[in-house]
Structure formats: C-alpha cells, structure tokens
Symmetry: C2
Subunit: 197 residues, 2 copies
Amino acid sequence: MAKSSTKRNGGGEKSSLTPADWEQEALELIAEKGIAALRVEPLARRLGITKGSFYWHFPGRDELLAKALERWERQDRQHLKLSLSAGNAPAERLADFVWRTSRQTLTHRIYVALCATPDHPCIGPVLRRVTQRRVKYLSAALEELGLQGIQARHRANLMYSSYVGYLQLQAQGLVPDKDEPDFDAYVQHVIETLIEV
Amino acid sequence: MAKSSTKRNGGGEKSSLTPADWEQEALELIAEKGIAALRVEPLARRLGITKGSFYWHFPGRDELLAKALERWERQDRQHLKLSLSAGNAPAERLADFVWRTSRQTLTHRIYVALCATPDHPCIGPVLRRVTQRRVKYLSAALEELGLQGIQARHRANLMYSSYVGYLQLQAQGLVPDKDEPDFDAYVQHVIETLIEV
DNA sequence: CAGCTTCCATACGGCAGAGTATGGGTTTAC
DNA sequence: GTAAACCCATACTCTGCCGTATGGAAGCTG
C-alpha cells in the first residue's frame, strides 16, 4: 500500500489544483445550478478540498467568477471561429448553427444560466459581447444569402431569439431534446421557415 | 396633524397588510431581481415593516412563493382569456400576441425570472402549465390559419421560442424596447416571417 | 371598559457562507 | 540537506437570513 506523494489523489491525477481547474469546475457548477449556486465552500467540497486552497489561488468569489466567464467567452469565440473556418456556403453555416444548438451542451447551459442575471456587473458585459458576436455572425451569413441591411439584422435577431427561447423551453422539458425523433423534424421546420432558400 | 388610527400609514392606505399585498409585492420583487432575491426580511423592509408580520400571514417563505405564483398564473390565464374573447381573426390574434410581448411588462419579467429556475419544485409545474397554455393558444390559432397538425405545433414552438428569446435579449438591452422606433419594424418582420398569410 | 382577536415589533437561536489567520506538509531550488 | 516557495487544512470572526417566541398596541365585541 504505497502511499502516493500526496494524500488526496489515489490515481494518476495532478497533485495540486490549478486556477484553471477551479474555473472549469465553476463553469460546470454554473451550468448545473446557476450563478447563485457558485459559492466557494460548496465548490471546494465538490472538488474534495477545502476553501483554504481557493483563497490561495483567488482573492475572492467575484474574481473566480470573472476568470471563469473569461474562459467561457474564450471557448465560445473559439466555437464561432471553427464555424467560420469551415468555409461552407452561408445556408449550410446557418443550418449548422441551428443544429449546433443541441451540441456543446455545457456552453449552452452556461449561456442560459447567465441570461438569468443579465444585470450583474460581472456577467452583463460578457453576455452582451457573446450575444452580439453570435448575432453578427448570423447577420453576416444572412446578408450573403441575399437579405440586405435591416432585413438581415431583423432576421438574425429573430433566429437568435428563437435559439435562446428554445434553450429555455428545453430547460422546462417541454420540447424535444436531440436524440429524440421529433427534434430533427422541428429543426427542419425552423430552417425552412427562417432560411427560406 | 391628526394622527391616523395606525402609525405607519400617513395617507389613506389600508392600516394592515393582507396576504394579497405580500404576494403582489413578492411578484414585483421577483420581476426586478429574480426568485433568489425573494427573501423574507428584505421583502418586509421593502414594505416598511418587519418579518413579524410576515410569519403571521404565512407559514414560511415557500408558502409565499407558492401563493404568489398561483396569483401570477391566475393573472396570466386571465390575459389569455381576454385575447380569446376578443374574437378576432386568427391572424390578428397572432399579431396581437406578438405585440403584447412588449406590454404587460410585469408579467413578462416574472416569466423570465421563473425561466431561470425551471427545476425548482414550486416553479417548474407552474411554469410548464403557463407555457403549455400559451403554446396551445398559438397552435390553435395557427391551425385556424391553415397549418395542420405537426406543422402548427412546430410553428407554435418556433413563435413561442422567439418570444421567450426576445425577452432575454431585451433584458440584456441588446434589442429595441417598445417606444423605440426600430421595435415596430422588427415586430412587423416577425409577423411577416412567422405568419406568412 | 374588560376581554378577545388581529397585526406587528423585538429579541433570540441557529445555520450557511465569505473572508482571514495561521500553521503544517510537500515540493523545489540551491 | 536546508531554506524557500507552494499548496492546503483548520479554526475563527462576521454577516445575513430563516424561523420562533413573546409581548404589546390597536380594533372590535359585549
């Protein structure tokens, strides 16, 4: 029974937690239970550790939240970039956007959680930036499709609104999830209605 | 300077608070800061009173929340009933639904707040009932317009999703509010896109 | 006006989490 | 091998809220 170099980890895990570990776990906690549930002691318990560690890595709760959101925004921007570099035709890119609603579950769940507190000084700015980036992405693709100016912006807002709303209905369990058969039919309907080619 | 019969109220207000007063104030608090902000002592302070009063009217926080939501659901059902009894043509009713998104601000803000915690045992059931009632309303109107069965349901989901999503974007301040000039143009775009006659 | 009900104030105990202080074990550097 | 830096545990204070207990003031009732 050779005791490993540290006590906590029996397997091949890292011996100590990095700030990134805290941030990632914070994001998952937010995705599960919302920002209000992001509290230091519960988060520490979740990581099988005490808050003594936390306050060594971070000055306080707000700083963790800020760093975590920063990380989330980075990941989201990365996802958008991947969509763009795919280099598909605009119609395909838009359809792809709609489909991706059901993938990247974590990112989306976090987005819903943040939507719940848009007035928070740490959250509002990040949330707005992410939203605007996505809407702008949609708007650009729609312009390529032939919609001009205001029409493209309106349609982008509509598309994005329906995306956000669908996330909410999904959270209520009132609307089919991916996997489920009805989902594909619905997405198809959305594409036909909003991206009439 | 005749002192009125009780000390707290200088004007012609009621001398004592009824449960309904608590419930209504609770709803407004929820609309402003979310369900997490619905706490007994702050709410009492808001009413210029102490919690001694609260615990006389209600057994506890959860019971207030339940009663408040019950009241909210009643009001919302009333709104729907009014829309139906208007007896307009389905197209007008749908357009009316879209337009009403920007009215009844309180009801809508409460809806967003509730969406933030769909898993809460007190909230989930109410939220689902309200959502389903509304979607069913839309679906029925769409069927009258000629869409059949699944198509009507899909379109109703899409319309309602775009409604919910718009509320979120509105909360982020990324989208025009009523009053503002762009709003009418957007609503017009939505109607043309989702209710193509 | 005595007595009862209604409505609220005050004071209390308890809990949960934020931050702080401090010390100890482990690794790294020299 | 020793000293420093790193990482975490423990114990503590402080704040804010929940729920309870109790008493008191105002109103009605006879």
